[in-house]
Symmetry: C5
Subunit: 95 residues, 5 copies
């Protein structure tokens, strides 16, 4: 799982049927300060009611995504699985 | 899923039988502006009638690709799964 | 498996139910000296009672993680699988 | 699938039994011109009678490789799945 | 599969039970000359009696590793699958 900031939403009407009904969130990988971007944004399906601006954990793996969505035919691999409350580094909170 | 621009088509006659009948699209990963290239192009199978110039979402994962194609023996992992209509960042449309 | 230093802990209450009860460790990939950071940190589930400051091996793979956790629905792929005692390079211990 | 140039062959006698009888091709990822190298070479198993100098598509995924080889125990993930005849970019052939 | 030089060994007592009895080799990805390092080292399980200094092929994939080890619960993905005898590039041996 990697740390990401939710920065936006992607809209599509012409898409695979198994993506229907899922919110497609833009996720920007970030450093431990929760702000500094690291690498390219990607698109993930939300499963924990995350919203724009939230700091989240994203798991990138197709088998897990299909299990969580209970949909054997969902062609996706990035899933938002947690909203982060706090991060401790060396015993000290970083945010 | 990552954001890509469809930039071309690849043609092959000497290939695995399970790739027959599928369009092979050249996909260039792009930034959120939908234009700036990010990293190397790759080849994906189209499943949503995407065409050259379209902004699309590509999922990279073999299990999902085989399920969507309903072909247990298809040796591929990149699938075009959606054509993007719009992207909102911080509540504002970017394109 | 890659060599990582455990640098912290991530806390989350709003998360996928299958992540409940697992410690989420911040892992920093490191070079063979066990100190020099290499690439971005990520989050892994602990299964060997690793703690902050430990040098560990992390396996990144969803199928293996679900098997080890004995939970077919756990949406995660990074698992701490060993605490490193020693590393020999060219027959000489490096730490 | 990514575009590669076949640049050589790897020979091994001391190897996993399930690799026996397969040609191990050196593959160099290349740009759309089919010449400019992009990233490190790797080794793939040939399944379409590709030879040195051919421009090919390589799929990198273990499940697909085992299915195509019809060998559940083959420990490999890179498979040459097509020899490329032509690439069109923006409606124009590039080679 | 990628080309690696075996550079060392990792020792661990506090580890997942399914890693017991396997040698954990430090593997340095190398260029076609078999010497120049390319990217970070990682840890792989040996299955072909490779030793320090050997040039080897490593496959990185969890499903294949578990099949080869005949252990459905082994949480690892990097497996040494061949010791390299020779590499031909453009019809000429490189080593």
């Amino acid at each position: 799982m990697i740390l990401c900031r939710v920065t936006g939403t992607v809209w599509s009407t012409q898409k695979n049927a198994h993506l229907a009904g899922h919110r497609l969130l833009l996720c920007q990988p970030v450093a431990l300060d929760g702000e500094t971007g690291e690498g390219a944004s990607f698109v993930a399906v939300d499963r924990v009611d995350a919203g724009e601006g939230d700091l989240v954990l994203v798991n990138a793996e197709g088998g897990g995504a299909r299990l969580v969505l209970n949909d054997d035919l969902a062609p996706l691999r990035n899933l938002v699985v947690a909203v982060v409350d706090a991060i401790d580094v060396d015993g000290e909170p970083t945010r």
